[in-house]
Symmetry: C2
DNA sequence: CCCTCCGTTGGTACATATTACCATCACGGC
DNA sequence: GCCGTGATGGTAATATGTACCAACGGAGGG
């Protein structure tokens, strides 16, 4: 359907690697493409799951490493959030976030007025501000209706159970690629 | 020196427990006091280290548990940040944060203009906003000068090494309290 | 002051998240 | 095609956080 776009992406990817002095490996390209097609804020594992389909045998370690590299280069943002697993934001432009305190969902919002807030004077402490975003916290629609039905008295908003499949790490061990016969 | 203040704190602590239906244990009081005297944004382990001095034999599990309880009651805030270990903010009033992308330091700032930003209209997605704070990211004074000296070309701003002592968990095992003789 | 009860703690074991390490590999310049 | 260097895969180790349960102890009643 969009082989032209695919071509563009590939060119964009190679250009980017050139600029930053990175080797353009298939693994990095797969991460790049996986991020491009996401609208949410995936964890490393969520990215890895998709990667495993594109590049059979890819290692979880590699997913961590590439996401870290991309984050350091500013191609993706490591999101500020109170959960336990790191989450990444493929969207680069200025935008802000809603955090559901109950299910930990993160929702992007855009708002010109927020973009234009005046930066505080932090010269006193010597900090150099590079950017910002505004965090709103509260309840998402789902959690709101769920809580409404139960009477709403919950002092302890129960966290959604962790979703990671209980597969022993690096399940790709059954297709060994390294042992040269 | 400030035994009057100490007295006040104790009263404040007991009142607080009463209000929330919590038992006023020495462990909870120690956490309460440890948080009061901190100006930074400690991890559980940093709180635990201080606790271990006040209450010999206290368990790391207890530190996690009490901080969680306090956070749920709003006595302390679980900070949104991009690092891996949860960090807590003893300061409750409205304020905002500077995040150093290099050393992960978190600095409080206060600014009336930021407090007054207008909340966006999120009725479309059904989200209920309860509060907000503004995240600025950049480089703290220390990291700025450190980077300046090196020529500033660092593509990979190196994270400070983790500081946790390599003591096997719950080192207090050598003073058993539970086995009643 | 003692007793009893239920909320709390300590400690182990486990679950999850991330990193260190190193042998092996493959991208890209020649 | 060949080589050197940077990247990957996999294991082991470290970090961080939670479940569980027996033992404890704060607080109210006797």
């Amino acid at each position: 359907m969009d082989s032209a776009t695919t071509h563009e992406r590939l060119a964009q990817f190679r250009r980017m690697c050139r600029e930053h002095g990175l080797v353009a490996t298939v693994q990095r390209q797969a991460v790049f493409e996986t991020l491009l097609e996401r609208e949410d804020h995936p964890t490393v594992d969520q990215v890895y799951e998709r990667l495993a389909e594109r590049v059979p045998g890819i290692s979880r370690t590699t997913a961590y490493r590439i996401l870290d590299t991309f984050a350091r280069l500013g191609l993706v943002t490591r999101i500020c959030h109170p959960g336990s697993a790191a989450r990444f934001d493929p969207k680069i432009g200025r935008h802000h976030h809603l955090f559901c305190v109950s299910c930990e969902r993160i929702i992007d919002i855009e708002d010109d007025r927020l973009d234009r807030i005046q930066w505080p004077d932090v010269s006193a402490c010597g900090f150099e501000i590079q950017g910002f975003d505004v965090h709103f916290h509260g309840l998402c629609a789902d959690c709101r209706s769920r809580q409404g039905k139960k009477g709403g008295g919950a002092v302890r908003p129960s966290k959604q159970p962790k979703a990671r499949k209980s597969v022993p790490r690096n399940r790709s061990s059954n297709l060994p690629r390294r042992t040269k016969p």
